[in-house]
Symmetry: C2
Amino acid sequence: MKPKQTTEARFAYEGLDRVIHERARLSVLTSLITNPNGLSFVDLKRLCNLTDGNLARHLQVLEKESLVKIIKDDGPSRPQTFCRITTSGRTRYLEYLEILEQVVRDAASVASEDTEARFLKKLSPITS
Amino acid sequence: MKPKQTTEARFAYEGLDRVIHERARLSVLTSLITNPNGLSFVDLKRLCNLTDGNLARHLQVLEKESLVKIIKDDGPSRPQTFCRITTSGRTRYLEYLEILEQVVRDAASVASEDTEARFLKKLSPITS
């Protein structure tokens, strides 16, 4: 079968920003974009199921890219670290999200055919 | 602000299979799932905008994981390499896709608010 399009990079998804696409960082940024007022390090760790070291390492990458802001609260009580997504982080995440939606759309027609096939297969022992 | 859920790994997306999630491999597998009869190496390279070496390397990873089948056609004419997704590759890709859809859904409400905000911002020089 001939591919649908061969003259262009139809499935290249150049916009899938590698900084955001990495699974742990996608996890961190999705937590932060849905909690725009920020999250504590402890909550973020739990929501993303990451170890202290792993979360710290990924936050460092994200902060270097100005995608997140890390706020260290050295107040009179126990010191806490808070994280929030920056305005540019939000913009860049939303641009990334558009490409992710494109991947889902590209595969969606195939997926729905498959779901139907699996559904019919499940039915077959009863109907046959 | 308190996060919506702190007791579970709400945003961990453990199902985001690292073998599939890597951008070039996601590109290759999406090309192959939408072209179930297979694609030539040359067409795949063009659709994914990958170099010979890069595509070969990623196909090797995918073949080792039994996600794709590589068929070398050494017939009388010019030898050609064809690739197609395997049945288990298809299943594993569709499982991955479900998690990807979850990420999109999680971020969708935020994205739509943002689009609205950007739309209003664009309008403001006219309306104000």
